[in-house]
């Protein structure tokens, strides 16, 4: 079973994503900001992570840059309310595999993660 990590500053969103992903994936870690995510990623080496953008300390875009610099093969799916075109293009240009805009349907998230391993 593929191992995943959820990064979102909202506890309720981490719980909802875990409820959705737990059905098919093994969620091994959760982080509440970008800084914590970078440390946990190195420690846990998950197969994928979902990453929010608007977070305290280190936002998702800066975390994505830092993460892909250290781990170029990291599979990152952005899950964010900040879905402006310029920001979507920036994230995908940096190397995010997909960009899911909140509010989302559970199936949209599952399809996106499944596609990472197709």
């Amino acid at each position: 079973m593929y191992r995943g990590m959820i990064v979102d500053d909202a506890m309720i969103m981490r719980m909802r994503l875990r409820e959705i992903l737990d059905k098919e994936f093994n969620i091994v870690a959760e982080a509440a900001n970008g800084q914590e995510a970078i440390g946990l990623y190195a420690e846990q080496q998950p197969d994928f992570l979902t990453l929010d953008i608007s977070m305290p300390q280190l936002n998702g875009i800066d975390a994505l840059k830092a993460l892909l610099e250290k781990h170029p093969d990291a599979r990152v799916v952005i899950v964010s309310a900040v879905g402006q075109k310029q920001i979507v293009f920036e994230a995908l240009g940096l190397g995010a595999k997909d960009f899911i805009i909140k509010p989302f349907e559970a199936e949209r998230v599952l399809k996106s993660i499944r596609r990472l391993f197709a």
Binding site: I12, M13, R16, S54, A81, Q84, K85, Q86, I101, K102
Partner: protein
């Protein structure tokens, strides 16, 4: 501030509440004031920077926050829901502002929104921006949501 901002936030709030909680919100009142100081005890403050800047302050009663958390995670125990109430309404405020920012930014602009900060009535000593504000009230079966929109275009555009 442009009056169209109000319609953008109304649309976003109605749509987000329907999708995330299955709760129907409808517009009750719209007033103008000098700053986004909230009038209900639980407040969520989100800063906006970029070509539009300012603050959006959401406010509600604690019971409203509890019902939102319950609607988002219906299978959890009440004691757990109580702990999640502020996280739930912060996230809803974040998603509403995020949706509104997509409409406000259009094709070529970029707007940054800060992570939500929760304030309780007893903490309301912070200084709110003195920006002409549109205050919206949306009503639903779980109570009233107040949205105070204090946004201005950077450079006075």
């Amino acid at each position: 501030m442009k009056a169209e901002y109000a319609n953008i936030f109304i649309r976003s709030a109605v749509e987000v509440f329907q999708k995330e909680t299955n709760i129907t919100m409808s517009r009750k009142d719209l007033t103008k004031k000098d700053s986004p100081v909230p009038s209900l005890p639980v407040s969520i403050i989100i800063g906006v920077t970029g070509f539009i800047r300012g603050q959006v302050v959401y406010a509600m009663d604690q019971s409203f926050a509890f019902e939102v958390a319950h609607a988002m995670l219906p299978n959890r125990l009440p004691v757990e829901i109580k702990k999640l109430s502020n996280s739930a309404v912060s996230e809803i405020a974040n998603i509403i502002t995020g949706q509104a920012s997509i409409a406000l930014a259009g094709e070529n602009e970029k707007i940054h929104i800060t992570p939500p900060a929760v304030l309780m009535a007893s903490d309301l000593t912070m200084d709110f921006l003195e920006i002409p504000t549109i205050s919206l009230s949306l009503i639903s079966e779980i109570g009233v949501l107040e949205i105070n929109i204090a946004l201005t275009e950077a450079g006075g555009r």
